[in-house]
Structure formats: structure tokens, C-alpha cells
């Protein structure tokens, strides 16, 4: 067998960006000996683009990462310098937290978190190759360090979409010649694979600004036969705060009471700062228009596809010529730095044009640039190469997560990271993989979209991608995912206990509101019924007092109005209401000897209860649809299923199904271009093949 490894780990993670950190942490917390490899130890969890975490839909992802036991939420809570809960003018399903980060502190805090994990080792080294073992019958074990050629990959596994890959990853090779054995390898290389930076007419290979690209590993992945695509993203210039006249801008303060990302964060205590809003103007636009031929995006220099939702400023001017101005946000990169991030001015224009653009804006006339904006092209692997647990279909025990799968965003990366970490861990433990379905979380939507549809532009999460948006809220992410995290080992016992207590408080409050009628003669009753116009000169006019649930249906009332009544009611009911939710081995033993103080319902918990009552009709409507999706999801397509034997499928449909190899009929139905008739044809053939197999077996 393979020998001569210098080191051995259960799980090896390549790349210490936002995906890599979560992946390594999850695997380590599951009890696996894990190593995290990075080209530069000082740039762990670098925020290469904007100094912020969260935002609409992205905030949801962070909550889910956190609910599963990930680290991103706690880290940003510890180093966030401006917190805002977005979308509060709409319903609670689309509220989403966002925070400006102190970039330097974010890196430091993340490194501290990683280093405090006993099963995790952090290593600085460039990984240049994957060591692959060919386990197909008759073939000899491959000597260490020799990757199979593309043709060998193809011949070892003639039908790449076929059942079980004969290839398996055994470890990694480092640039210094060492080899590391691994039970599973997770590749999270971000923009580093064959990264190419563009800044005006200049272009040079880089992973991020100021860092070398990862060329050899990129080559290795291509050689292994993965379908590789090329994407582009960009970043704006950074300015020196001492040269900016902030008086010209509109200040954007954070929320007076910051909303933390993590369910485990009690409060945000560090000092907070403001951001500023300003706009481009006719002069800025003129400069861009006159120089657009020098923009790599329009000169043909950039071939990769950029994200439409994150357009460069030159893109905005060209595509929306009638818009007189574009919004810009000036965001500090930290508390002890003068560096300012100009959100909204992502550009790859030549530096002289960038300078002129910046100076055309009122308040930035004297601004000095600390770093120019740039665009970067990089390799990605089509995520249709992956199973929904993020393992590659071609090579067993090899996982990909983050930007390499065609996504953008720290949050999208982190989310894939934790799922890849968990599944790599399960693989090594010899257990079945875990996936989250579209009814359970944005994490499930993200990964299902990626592996079912592939990407043709960098993928970002939006709430409109969620079929069951009302159900997938930030306030119930723990309800949806924390039990799973605890079961997997990524959620610690004490955190799980805290979750159970919270759940119990919510149950008790729900029960109270359902069962208790507000007495019109009580002080709270008198006040609230008066407000509803149900009191006439001190006399209650409705046929019967209303329950809390009924009161909450009234648009005039919010849960805040009932808090005093609920608190009193819960206290008087003895503090321990209803059956305690069962939570696995010993999980139910709380620190307070099983006594739960249900009266300490927090404001967020109360809001959660309120949402369940106020929108009960819509939530139930969605639940029915969720049931339907779950049923389709339950109909599995066996891995031996051969689409070529299904007559009646159009060639286009056949190609798509063979490429994606959906695991369930539900997944098949979500692939664009797959008609309901094709799905029912596949369903029918599953039955035919299965019966045929059973018949043969009985002979």
C-alpha cells in the first residue's frame, strides 16, 4: 500500500478562507484529527472583498452555520463594528443581520478560535497535488505522488456518472516535497486556482491582491478530469480616511441595539462606528464612459463571467446609462486603521481613471488611494461534479467547498465549508453522509442549486431562491439545525442545553397564549381591550375574552404589548410548563438541575412566538407544500440507474440527467429543462428495473 507519508490526518483542508475555516472546525469538533493548510498563516479568514458579514439572505446563511455549530457567527459578533438588522420594514422572514467587521481582528479572532480547537492543526504550506489511489479491480496501487493522467482517470471509471468511483484520494503533496496522508481531503481554494488579477491594461497572476496564485493545484484538478470553468469577480479601491471630508456624506449609523449573528452570543459589547453614504455624479460617469475602452471588462481582456448582482461601476454606467447617480457606501475596514472601503465602486479600470473617478465625488476631492480596485479571474469546478454532500463524484473522499464551486461571498463559502467538513468527517467515520434539504435551510438550497444546476455566473444567495422563505427565518435556524449539529458533534452539549431551554420557553409561551384568555378586569386586559375598541365605559363588549393567540392576530397588537401579561402568567404557572423536549443522551440534563425558567423569555424568543401566530395561515400553507416536496425527495433514484436505457427521453434531457445524476425524483424535477413527463418516465423505469432485478434474483 501507499507508504512514505510524512504525516497523517483524518481530514485535511486545503485553504484557510471562510470555507476552509468552517470545514476544519467542523471536522475537528466531530473528533477527527484535522489539519488546515494555508499558503499564508497570517491571512487566515482574510476578508478579501468588503469588510462585512451578512446581508439579506447571507445573514440567514450565517445563522444556519452558527446553528450547526460553525464559527463565523461568533467571530463576527466579537469583532463587528457596526450591526444592522436589514429589511425590518418587511416581515420577520426576510429580516437579516449584517455587520461591518474589523478585518484585522476578524483574522485574529478566527485564528484564535481555530487554535483553541484541540483536534485541529494549522499548517503553512502550498498544496500542489492530490494523491489518488486507483482501487479498480486488477490495477496496482499507485505509487505515492503520481497523479493519474486524464486518460487513466477516464479509463478507470469509464462512465464518470456511473455508480461508484474507483478512485479515492489518499492525501496531498506539498510544494516542499512532503506528502500528507488523509482520510478525506477538502479543497477550498477560493480565487487562488490560476488566479489572474486585472487592473486596467495590467494583468498578473495572483490568488488575492498581494498573494501568489495556486497554479499547480489548479493544474492537478484539471488533470483529474474535472470540468473547470472560469469566473470573474472584483473589488473597489480603498481610500485613506485622513484625506476624506466626511462632512459631505450622510452618516449611516448601526442599530442602537445590535442584533448578534450567533445564538450563543449574549450581547455585543465592543465599541461601534458609523458608515457613510454618498453618490456618483455626472462627472464620474463621464470619466468612466470616456475610458471604458480601457476597462478590461470591455476590452476583451477578461474572459471569465462576473456576477450580475455585484457589477463593477463601469458595468452599471454602461448598462443603465439613464441612471443619474449610483449609491456608494464608505465603510471603515477597522477601528485602528484609516483604510476605507468604497462599497459600490468595484472596478478594474486603470489606476489613473480610478483616481479621477474617486476625486470626482464631493468629499473625496483630496482622497488618496491606499489600494486600487481590481478584477480577478479564477478557475472553478462545475459543482455538478459533486454529490449533494459536496464529495466529488469522480474521486471518493475528496470534497470541494466555497468559491471553487462557483459561489461568491464569505457566507456562501462558510456554509459549504461546514457541510463539507461534516461530511468528510462522516466519510472517515464510515457513516452515511448528511444533507440539508430545501425545506430545512438556505444551506440546503445553496447546495442543491449548485449540484443540480451548475453555475454559469458566480452564485449568490437570495431569499427569492427559497421556496419556503417564510419558514426559513433567522429566528428559527436553531430549531431547524441545532439538533442535527448536536447529533453530529459540532454543537457542544452546553450549547445544546441552552437551545433546549430556549425551546422550552418558547413552548411554554406558545401554550400560554393558546390556552389563556386575557381577563378584561385585569389591568393589562383593560388597557388592551380598550385599545381594540372592545371596552365601552369600563364594560367589556365582546362575547368572550380573547386568547393570546386571538389577540396576536389583530394587526393593532404586537407581542411587545402582551409581554407583561405573558411574563406574569408564566411566572405564576410555576416556571416549568409542558413536557420537556427530548434531546438525545443526557442532553436534557440542564445545568440548573432540570429547572427551566420559562419566564425569562427574551425579546427575540417572543418575536418568534409572535411570528408563528401572526402568520399561522401562511406558514401552514407553506407546510403543505413542504410536505409535497419531501415526498418527491423521498423517491430515490438508485445509483445503478441507467438513463440511457430509458427510451422516450429527449437527448437534451438524457444529457442533463446523466451529467447531474440527481439522487431523487425531487432533485431531478428541479433541473432546468427536465419536464414533469420525463420525471414520471424515470419514475416508471425505476419500477421496471427494480422489478426486473427482483425477478432475476428470485430465479
Amino acid at each position: 500500500m501507499l507508504s512514505g507519508f510524512t504525516e497523517k490526518y483524518d481530514v485535511v483542508v486545503v485553504g484557510a478562507g471562510h470555507a476552509g475555516c468552517e470545514a476544519a472546525m467542523a471536522a475537528a469538533r466531530m473528533g477527527l484529527r484535522t489539519a488546515l493548510y494555508t499558503i499564508n498563516l497570517d491571512l487566515i479568514a482574510q476578508m478579501s472583498c468588503n469588510p462585512a458579514v451578512g446581508g439579506i439572505a447571507k445573514g440567514h446563511l450565517v445563522r444556519e452555520i452558527d446553528a450547526l455549530g460553525g464559527v463565523m457567527g461568533e467571530v463576527i459578533d466579537a469583532v463587528g463594528i457596526q450591526f444592522r438588522l436589514l429589511n425590518t420594514s418587511r416581515g420577520p422572514a426576510v429580516w437579516s443581520p449584517r455587520a461591518q467587521a474589523d478585518k484585522k481582528l476578524y483574522r485574529a479572532k478566527m485564528r484564535q478560535e481555530l487554535e483553541s480547537e484541540p483536534n485541529l492543526r494549522i499548517k503553512q504550506a502550498e498544496v500542489i497535488d492530490l494523491l489518488i489511489e486507483d482501487r479498480s479491480a486488477g490495477s496496482l496501487p499507485r505509487p505515492v505522488g503520481v497523479s493519474p493522467t486524464r486518460r487513466e482517470v477516464a479509463s478507470a471509471n469509464p462512465d464518470p456518472a456511473g455508480p461508484r468511483p474507483a478512485l479515492r484520494v489518499r492525501g496531498i503533496r506539498l510544494r516542499d516535497g512532503r506528502t500528507v496522508e488523509a482520510g478525506a481531503v477538502i479543497v477550498t481554494t477560493g480565487t487562488f486556482l490560476n488566479g489572474l488579477i486585472h487592473c486596467g491594461e495590467n494583468q498578473y497572476p495572483a490568488g488575492r491582491s498581494g498573494e501568489p496564485p495556486s497554479v499547480l493545484l489548479g493544474e492537478a484538478l484539471r488533470r483529474l478530469g474535472f470540468e473547470v470553468g472560469r469566473l470573474k469577480t472584483g473589488t473597489p479601491p480603498r481610500l485613506d480616511a485622513r484625506t476624506i471630508d466626511f462632512a459631505k456624506f450622510q452618516a449611516q449609523p448601526g442599530d442602537p441595539v445590535p442584533t448578534p449573528f450567533s445564538f450563543r452570543t449574549k450581547a455585543i459589547s465592543q465599541p461601534q462606528t458609523v458608515c457613510w453614504i454618498t453618490y456618483t455624479n455626472a462627472e464620474t460617469h463621464r470619466l468612466i464612459r470616456e475610458n471604458v475602452h480601457r476597462a478590461p471588462l470591455y476590452s476583451g481582456q477578461i474572459k471569465g463571467i462576473g456576477p450580475r448582482y455585484c457589477p463593477s461601476i463601469e458595468d452599471k454606467i454602461v448598462k443603465f446609462p439613464d441612471k443619474p447617480q449610483h449609491q456608494l457606501f464608505l465603510e471603515p475596514e477597522g477601528m485602528d486603521t484609516y483604510e476605507i472601503y468604497v462599497n459600490g465602486m468595484s472596478t478594474s479600470m486603470p489606476i489613473d481613471v480610478q483616481m479621477a473617478m474617486v476625486k470626482s465625488i464631493a468629499g473625496l476631492e483630496r482622497a488618496e488611494m491606499i489600494r486600487p480596485g481590481y478584477a480577478i479571474e479564477y478557475d472553478m469546478v462545475q459543482p455538478t461534479e459533486l454529490f449533494p454532500w459536496l464529495e466529488t463524484k469522480k474521486i471518493r473522499n475528496l470534497f470541494l467547498a466555497g468559491q471553487i464551486n462557483g459561489t461568491t461571498g464569505y457566507e456562501e463559502a462558510g456554509c459549504q465549508g461546514i457541510m463539507a467538513g461534516i461530511n468528510a468527517g462522516l466519510r472517515v467515520q464510515g457513516k452515511e453522509p448528511v444533507t440539508i434539504d430545501r425545506t430545512q435551510g438556505y444551506a440546503g438550497i445553496l447546495i442543491d442549486d449548485l449540484v443540480s444546476k451548475g453555475v454559469d455566473e458566480p452564485y449568490r444567495m437570495f431569499t427569492s431562491r427559497a421556496e419556503f422563505r417564510l419558514h426559513l427565518r433567522i429566528d428559527n435556524a436553531d430549531e431547524r439545525l441545532t439538533p442535527l449539529g448536536y447529533q453530529l458533534g459540532t454543537i457542544k452539549l452546553k450549547d445544546y442545553e441552552a437551545f433546549l431551554e430556549k425551546r422550552q420557553r418558547i413552548c411554554a409561551a406558545t401554550k400560554f397564549l393558546l390556552e389563556t384568555r386575557l381577563d378584561p378586569d385585569s389591568r393589562a386586559g383593560h388597557e388592551i381591550y380598550s385599545r381594540l375598541g372592545l371596552m365601552d365605559s369600563g364594560r367589556f363588549t365582546a362575547p368572550a375574552p380573547l386568547t393570546g393567540a386571538q389577540l396576536l392576530k389583530r394587526s393593532e397588537l404586537a407581542i411587545d404589548d402582551l409581554m407583561a401579561w405573558i411574563g406574569e402568567g408564566l411566572r405564576s404557572s410555576g416556571g416549568d410548563n409542558g413536557p420537556r423536549p427530548q434531546g438525545g443522551d443526557g442532553g436534557a440534563q440542564g445545568p440548573g438541575e432540570g429547572v427551566v425558567h420559562v419566564d425569562s423569555l427574551t425579546r427575540e424568543e417572543a418575536r418568534r412566538v409572535e411570528t408563528d401566530f401572526k402568520y399561522a395561515g401562511y406558514l401552514q400553507q407553506q407546510e403543505k407544500q413542504m410536505e409535497r416536496m419531501k415526498r418527491a425527495e423521498a423517491r430515490r433514484i438508485p445509483d445503478w440507474f441507467d438513463y440511457r436505457k430509458v427510451s422516450g427521453l429527449s437527448r437534451e434531457v438524457l444529457e442533463k440527467l446523466t451529467k447531474v445524476r440527481p439522487l431523487t425524483l425531487g432533485q431531478a424535477s428541479r433541473i432546468p429543462g427536465i419536464t414533469p413527463a420525463a420525471v414520471s418516465l424515470v419514475n416508471c423505469y425505476i419500477e421496471i428495473f427494480q422489478r426486473r432485478a427482483a425477478e432475476q434474483a428470485s430465479k
Partner: protein
């Protein structure tokens, strides 16, 4: 696999036979049946025929005596609960029954779906699997064909603009949610309501055109037109006489109009006899004539009666020209018992040539009021011509139409809920839930809408993103 919904279809061949059978399969088959058909006693015996009365939903008016047989799962063709309802009625009654089932929550079955269920539920063994495969393939082909037809014209094309209005609204609301940080103008409630109302009115119009129920409920008006002595009155009488139940003779609305209502195949058919058309042609200025032609125009269907034993006249041609633009038209070549003056074929050709010049649907029937020949056929034609869907010959297309009707109805329901949500000023994400409920049924006709399609509209319409 247990199917999640209850399906319904007419399971006898198209056209008017002695009996027609409507079949339901699924958990709710029995419940739906007993909600539509009145039985002397419940519960029904299984595997035994029971007599019942199928009545019109709104009025409770009895339409047909039916024989119902139910098969409890797994002892049925599909291994689900199956109910078979045999009717005597005209195709329109069968279709109305199916429509009622849809209203009660069934879904129109796809072609071959009963057999597919039977197979998936293990009722058909592997040796028969090839047949199933053919069936499913034909289903795929059928859907492809329907899709192609739809792309070429008709329903999909008509729906596309309505769907676009809906999609634009969805995109605007989604942009507001997902790009709340960008300066996307918030759409006003008044604007939302106006757009919803426009969509609703449009779809309502579409769905009205499909309604078989409307015919059953309101009946049809047939205007009988022709020169004097061509046998209008005797044809009129034999149409009435052949039916067991003459309902009520109604007084004519004017002196020259006589109207009577008869039950033809369960449909109240109102005959309007229009004497005096001859004068009409000569003395156009007469007020009564105007009225006569208004009544003819207001009818659902016109029957021109021509005496086949006489030579073709100029007058016939004039009448045809006058009637053609008014809509559905039938021509009866009456007195077919007498020796024809010109050969029948020639005569038919003449009528046909005249009809062909126009665009109206046309059919020619040979009748004899004296012998009763062709009267039955005429009634068939009357029912078929007046039913709004013109393609009644093909059951498959009927299903398609019925399915469309059901889907558009579903869509309307979503829009109605959305309107309510807008009136109550509910948050946009709730309103959107209703709008997606309205969009999804249309998707089934025009092709799926993916989240990316909505994003495409957003990115084309708004300059969003930082």
C-alpha cells in the same frame, strides 16, 4: 408509491355512445363522488352498482341518473380507491361531471395516468411493463405535441402576456426584498392592487370561455332561421317531441318570435323560431326585423333550415351571408325524404361553398322532420357546436382544455388571495407566496419559471448590487 392526488377522466371513447363513464382514482375518489351524486343510502357497497342522481352544483337541478360502482383499495385497477360513474348524458354532461370533480379537488388525469398508477402500485406485472413504457412514451410525446401546439399559438400565447404581468410584479416585489439596501423604488399598494385586478380580469375572461358548467346551468339558445315553408316549424316540433321532457313553453318576447325550452341531453335548449325573415330581407327598415336579427345574433347558435326538395335560391345565399358573421351556425337540409330537386350532393356543395367563404364553424345535417331522420344527429351537432371548446371530437384535447381551465382557475384563486393580502397590507413576502401560487399553475401551461428567471428580470430592470 401512494399518489398524492385524486385523478379524474372520462374513460369511455369520445363521442356520444349509449353510456359514458367518468372514472376517479385516489384517496378522495369516494368523498368527491358522494359530494356530487345523491344516493338513496350511504355508504356505498363496494364492487356493486348503485343508482344515484347527479345534479347541477348551484341549483341542485337533477341532470342525469347515474350508475356508480366503487372499488376500495387495493382491490381496484389502480390499487387505489376507484369510482366509476356511468352516465347517459351528452358529452357535455360528462364534461360537466368531470368539471365538478375538479372543483371538488380532483385533478384531470394525464393520458395513461390510471395505467401508470396501476403499474407503480404493483397491479400490473413486469410482462406488461412494455405496454406501460409505450404508454408513458406516448404521454411524453403527447406532452411534447401539446407543448409544440401551445408554442405555436393558442393557450400558451394567450397566457404569456398575463404571466408576464404577474412576473413583473413578482420581480418588483422580490427586488424590494433582496435588494432592500439598494435604491430600488418601493412599489405602492395602489399600484400592486391595480396590477392584480388587471391580471384577475384577464384570467377571468379566459376561464369563462371554457366553462361547460355555464352551458349546463344557463342552457343554450338556438335560433331557427329560414324561408317560409321550408319546414322550420315541423323541425322545431320534432326537436321538441323527440325529447321526453318538454319543460315550459315560454311566451315569445315579440309577436314574431316563439321560444320554447326543451331538455336536450341534460342541457336546457331554448329554441327561438324566427318567422318573418323573408320580409326582413325585403323591408329592411322595419323595426320588428331589427329585433328579429338581434334575437338571432344573441343566440348561442343559429340553425338555417333549407328545403332540400327545392332549388337553391338567392334568398338562401343572402341569409347565409347575413348569418355567417354572427358565430356558430348549422345548416339543416330538410325534407330529405322527398326527392331532391337538385342532387343532394350538389346542394350540400352549394351550402358548403357559401359557408367556406366565411370563417364561422359550420356543419350541414340532412334532416327529415317527417320521418325523424337526422334529428338525433342534429341534436348532437347542436350540443357540440354550441359548446365553447370546438375540439370536442378529441378527448385528449378536451383534457388539455379542462386541465388549462383548472390551472387558470387555480391561478385566479392565488390572485384573489394575493389581493386580500394587499388589501390587508401584509408584508410583501406573504403577498409573494400567493403570487407564486398564482404563477405556478400558469407555469404548467407555458413552461416552468425558475428563481433565476425572476432574478433575470430584476437585473434587467434595476441597477442593483454593490
Amino acid at each position: 408509491m401512494v399518489s398524492e392526488d385524486t385523478i379524474v377522466a372520462i374513460s369511455t371513447p369520445p363521442g356520444r355512445g349509449g353510456l359514458g363513464v367518468v372514472r376517479l382514482s385516489g384517496d378522495r375518489a369516494l368523498e368527491i363522488t358522494t359530494s356530487l351524486v345523491k344516493f338513496p343510502k350511504l355508504p356505498l357497497d363496494t364492487q356493486r352498482a348503485t343508482l344515484g342522481i347527479f345534479s347541477e352544483l348551484a341549483s341542485g337541478r337533477a341532470l342525469d341518473q347515474v350508475v356508480v360502482t366503487c372499488f376500495r383499495q387495493p382491490h381496484s385497477y389502480t390499487a387505489e380507491d376507484v369510482v366509476e360513474i356511468s352516465c347517459h348524458g351528452a358529452p357535455v354532461i360528462l364534461r360537466y361531471l368531470v368539471e365538478c370533480c375538479l372543483e371538488r379537488g380532483a385533478r384531470a388525469a394525464e393520458p395513461g395516468e390510471f395505467t401508470l398508477r396501476a403499474f407503480l402500485n404493483g397491479r400490473i406485472d413486469l410482462t406488461q411493463a412494455e405496454a406501460i413504457r409505450d404508454l408513458i412514451e406516448s404521454q411524453t410525446l403527447y406532452q411534447a405535441r401539446v407543448a409544440a401546439q401551445q408554442l405555436e399559438g393558442s393557450v400558451s400565447t394567450r397566457l404569456q402576456p398575463h404571466k408576464q404581468v404577474l412576473l413583473d410584479l413578482i420581480a418588483r416585489l422580490e427586488a424590494g426584498i433582496d435588494f432592500a439596501e439598494d435604491d430600488v423604488a418601493v412599489i405602492e399598494w395602489q399600484e400592486i392592487l391595480a396590477r392584480l385586478d388587471r391580471s384577475r380580469a384577464d384570467l377571468q375572461k379566459l376561464v369563462e370561455g371554457y366553462k361547460y358548467g355555464r352551458i349546463v346551468r344557463e342552457g343554450l339558445t338556438l335560433a331557427i332561421v329560414g324561408r317560409p315553408n321550408v319546414g322550420k316549424s315541423s323541425l322545431f316540433n320534432s326537436l321538441l317531441n323527440e325529447e321526453r321532457a318538454i319543460v315550459t313553453p315560454l311566451p315569445g318576447t315579440t309577436r314574431d318570435l316563439v321560444a320554447e325550452t326543451a331538455n336536450v341531453g341534460g342541457i336546457p335548449l331554448r329554441f327561438v323560431d324566427t318567422a318573418g325573415v323573408r320580409e326582413a330581407l325585403d323591408e329592411v327598415e322595419k323595426i320588428g326585423v331589427e329585433r328579429t336579427f338581434r334575437a338571432i345574433a344573441d343566440s348561442d347558435l343559429r340553425l338555417l333550415v333549407v328545403d332540400a326538395s327545392e332549388p337553391w335560391t338567392e334568398e338562401n345565399t343572402l341569409l347565409l351571408q347575413r348569418l355567417r358573421p354572427l358565430g356558430a351556425l348549422l345548416v339543416a337540409l330538410n325534407k330529405s325524404d322527398l326527392p331532391p330537386c337538385v342532387s343532394l350532393v350538389e346542394l350540400e356543395g352549394m351550402v358548403q361553398a357559401d359557408l367556406d367563404a366565411g370563417v364561422s364553424p359550420s356543419q350541414v345535417v340532412h334532416t327529415s322532420a317527417l320521418t325523424g331522420a337526422g334529428i338525433h344527429e342534429l341534436k348532437e351537432k347542436i350540443l357540440e357546436t354550441a359548446a365553447p371548446a370546438r375540439d370536442l371530437g378529441l378527448e385528449g384535447e378536451f383534457i388539455t382544455n379542462l386541465r388549462h381551465q383548472q390551472l387558470i382557475q387555480d391561478s385566479l384563486q392565488g390572485l384573489t388571495k394575493a389581493r386580500q393580502a394587499a388589501v390587508e397590507r401584509l408584508p410583501h413576502e406573504m403577498l409573494l407566496l400567493d403570487l407564486y401560487d398564482a404563477l405556478r399553475p400558469l407555469d404548467l401551461i407555458t413552461g416552468a419559471t425558475y428563481a433565476d428567471d425572476v432574478l433575470d428580470i430584476i437585473f434587467k430592470t434595476f441597477c442593483v448590487g454593490k
